[in-house]
């Protein structure tokens, strides 16, 4: 299976926990025999989405901006398991991860369809896919964590994920979390 790891942590010291989790997730996935593609998003040249919808209406599936996001989009389209890693930012995701996700829309279709009673966009690339989202926080914050898990659930519905797992780690806690991350990846793989 193709496993895509997107590390959305900043490249400075604040991103250390995310880097540790990304390394663990990649190592666990490789130990299970998966092919792993990993990106440190904050180190890529990715411009923000301009909301022009040219990727839907002018040249479907191709973003109007030519930058490093092309590689990320291709890896997203061919992935079976996606692992997103981010500092929990006001309950949501970091700017680096969010920028990559905002630029994901070439991989979905413009048309509206109903999924689980709500309107969503169908995928451009039909593929059974699981989603694992790992957040980091310096200290416990019940409110931020609740928003984070709810947001992951919303993203999972939007992306049509067949199995979704999310977890929030305290900074520095990730190093001893190999079993937990491995368990999430195993479940994600088995669901496909």
């Amino acid at each position: 299976m193709n496993v895509l790891v997107l590390d959305g942590g900043p490249r400075d010291a604040r991103g250390a926990s995310c880097r540790a989790l990304a390394a663990l997730a990649a190592a666990e996935a490789r130990s299970m025999g998966h092919d792993v593609t990993a990106f440190e998003l904050d180190g890529l040249a990715v411009k923000p989405c301009q909301g022009c919808f040219a990727c839907w209406l002018k040249h479907p599936g191709v973003c109007a901006i030519e930058d490093d996001q092309e590689r990320v989009l291709r890896a997203m389209a061919t992935s079976d398991i996606q692992v997103w890693i981010t500092p929990v930012t006001f309950g949501g995701y970091s700017p680096a991860l969010k920028k990559a996700l905002d630029r994901f829309i070439p991989n979905i279709l413009p048309f509206f369809a109903v999924r689980e009673g709500e309107t969503h966009h169908p995928p451009r690339y039909e593929r059974r896919r699981s989603l694992v989202v790992l957040g980091t926080l310096p200290a416990a914050d019940e409110g931020a964590e609740r928003i984070f898990h709810h947001l992951v659930g919303r993203n999972a519905l939007n992306l049509g994920s067949v199995l979704t797992r999310s977890a929030v780690f305290r900074d520095g806690e990730g190093a001893c979390s190999a079993d937990r991350i491995g368990g999430m990846l195993r479940a994600a793989g088995e669901a496909i």
């Binding site: 923000p48 909301g51 209406l57 191709v62 309107t119 451009r124 928003i147």
Partner: protein
């Protein structure tokens, strides 16, 4: 009353988010408020505009953040801008701490292209969490589904498809001018569907097909260039 409108849309002053945010702040201006406007694209592009944002936020009594829903939450440049404001508040990352005391209330105005306003909920929750972490008193949110139907329509006068939106803006502005928050009545009116969902779907899907054909991409709509 001093008001700052921060537009979180990459389209700046051309989009529905700006139209909604400025429709609220123009009502506040009509009630005597002094309104200043900035946009995240400008803030992130220029250090001069960034420092203008800090100054305006320091001086404001009310900060209105208006934005579109992107992948279930805030657009990335808005998250980055809020991080800058929060870091400054905390004196993090070598920034000069906010001079305080913080009295600026925060209002969020969010719109999404989906017909279900409830899809805006994570974005509203994130804005409320930002307010808590950065120390802004939270004054509520106006969330709108079917944002695509607003287009260039007037938000000044009541009537027609946008009658509830106009009422919501009027009620919210009146409450904010009196020092109150966005009322539950205003939030509920703003959340009402502009038309039946089936009609919005039909109109949107027809519009997408028409635009694809106009751009000569009608037969490429389902292309898979990454395969």
């Amino acid at each position: 009353m001093k008001v700052l409108l921060l537009t979180g849309s990459p389209k700046g002053g051309r989009g529905v988010s700006f139209a909604l945010g400025s429709a609220l702040t123009s009502r506040l201006a009509a009630g005597g408020a002094a309104v200043e406007v900035t946009a995240v694209a400008a803030v992130l592009r220029s250090s001069e505009e960034r420092h203008r944002l800090y100054r305006l936020a320091d001086e404001a009594d009310l900060v209105v953040v208006s934005f579109p829903l992107y992948v279930d939450q805030l657009p990335a440049p808005l998250v980055q801008t809020l991080e800058l404001l929060a870091d400054r508040r905390k004196g993090a990352m070598g920034m000069t701490p906010w001079p305080g005391p913080l009295v600026q209330k925060l209002v969020a105005v969010v719109q999404c292209g989906f017909p279900e306003t409830a899809q805006c909920r994570p974005a509203v929750d994130i804005m409320r969490q930002f307010a808590k972490e950065a120390g802004f008193p939270w004054a509520g949110a106006l969330a709108l589904g079917m944002g695509g139907a607003v287009g260039g329509r007037s938000l000044a006068k009541p009537g027609g498809m946008l009658r509830n939106v106009v009422k919501a803006l009027d009620i919210a502005a009146a409450s904010l001018l009196e020092g109150g928050d966005v009322t539950p009545e205003a939030a509920a009116l703003m959340a009402k569907p502009l038309m039946p969902r089936w009609l919005y779907h039909a109109a949107a899907n027809w519009g997408f097909r028409r635009q694809l054909r106009r751009h000569g991409a009608g037969k490429k709509a389902f292309d898979r260039p990454c395969e």
